[in-house]
């Protein structure tokens, strides 16, 4: 992903008020991490599993933080139990920032990821998680602001799935 696009993502998160981000690093969006790390606005929390990334974010959200959880698409499968228990069932807002590996528009899609990618939407819908697929940077700030407003309105996790231009 181009640095300019990574900066646009981070700037949009900041403008939407996201100030606490848990993460397991991945390949597609990884350029956002050094930018987030350098920006004192964010509390950046590295973790060992996407499962705890969701649960730590739930605790921080209940403590008043505006939380993002950055993960690879495979992490949605790893953390589905946590998304359901402390996210959907308990009703806790958080923004899932997902590198949508294996999706149709993933420019680096391989046999390693396709099976996860093509089933992602069904998995999110089965959990009742609202989502938006983002293919390029057009209107990015508004789309991220919409997702943050929706997560607060629903008091549930909302997912942004980054593919297309974000995967180059």
């Amino acid at each position: 992903m181009e640095t300019e696009l990574a900066q646009k993502i981070v700037g949009s998160l900041k403008a939407a008020g996201i100030n606490f981000i848990t993460f397991v690093p991945e390949t597609r969006l990884s350029e956002i991490l050094p930018i987030i790390q350098k920006d004192g606005f964010f509390q950046l929390v590295p973790v060992a599993s996407e499962a705890e990334a969701v649960s730590i974010a739930a605790g921080a959200s209940l403590g008043g933080k505006q939380c993002g959880v950055y993960m690879e698409g495979t992490g949605v499968w790893v953390s589905s139990y946590n998304i359901l228990t402390v996210g959907v069932r308990y009703g806790v807002p958080m923004l899932l920032l997902v590198g949508y590996v294996g999706s149709m528009a993933d420019k680096r899609n391989t046999f390693l990821y396709a099976e996860y990618g093509v089933k992602m939407i069904a998995q999110l819908e089965s959990m009742g998680v609202e989502y938006q697929i983002l293919r390029d940077g057009d209107g990015l700030e508004g789309k991220i602001a919409d997702a943050v407003r929706m997560m607060h309105a629903l008091k549930k996790p909302v997912a942004l799935l980054f593919t297309g231009e974000f995967t180059i």
Partner: protein, 199 residues
């Protein structure tokens, strides 16, 4: 040592500390002794420690207690390296290890009934103050220390299996009610809004 006695001793000493509990008998027993809005009963396994970490990071000026069980922690062992590296000084974790999945009603043994020592696992993950205790006086020392002192504390309490919770009438508060009670308490005590949505 049984968990019921530990909670009976500790609950009256709590003031504005935040408490997160996992599932099973400890949720019922803690709820029996503590009726505070500062208690967050999650009603799920494998989440309490991580949620407690999130609260401790978000509110570094508040003391957070987490009550875990051996079965719940075994579901989320990846929490331990994260806990060690984040090292929140306002967090105290008590793992009530009865070496059984007592919620199953057949008391199937957990890994800690075999070779696994959760305090050693936490130590190996990098948690400096990780101890295993076996008697009530040690519990009083560790819990009393957690109330008074700063510093991450991870305490595995080897307890006898007790089925006291089965005789306690369970609360009819559902999870959402518990969450809102907790969040509204935090809003009052912190003087700031937690949830951002507006009508």
């Amino acid at each position: 040592m049984i968990r019921y006695d530990c909670f009976e001793w500790l609950a009256p000493q709590m003031k504005d500390e935040l408490v997160v509990t996992s599932l099973s008998g400890q949720r019922v027993e803690w709820g029996h002794f503590s009726k505070r809005d500062a208690d967050l009963t999650l009603g799920s396994m494998g989440n309490a420690l991580a949620v407690g970490m999130g609260l401790a990071l978000a509110l570094p000026h508040r003391k957070v207690f987490v009550f875990e069980s051996d079965g719940s922690l075994l579901l989320s062992l990846f929490n331990l390296p994260t806990l060690a590296n984040l090292n929140p000084p306002n967090l105290a974790v008590f793992v009530f290890d009865n070496q059984k999945y007592s919620g199953t009603r057949i008391s199937w043994p957990t890994a800690t009934a075999g070779k696994t020592d959760l305090a050693a696992v936490a130590k190996g993950a990098g948690v400096e103050h990780s101890v295993l205790i076996r008697d009530f006086e040690e519990f009083q020392r560790e819990a009393g220390g957690a109330l008074k002192e700063s510093g991450l504390r991870f305490v595995v309490c080897k307890i006898e299996e007790s089925l006291a919770h089965r005789n306690i009438v369970r609360s009819n508060f559902d999870l959402l009610e518990t969450k809102y009670k907790f969040v509204r308490y935090l809003e009052r005590s912190e003087g700031k809004p937690i949830f951002q949505g507006r009508g």
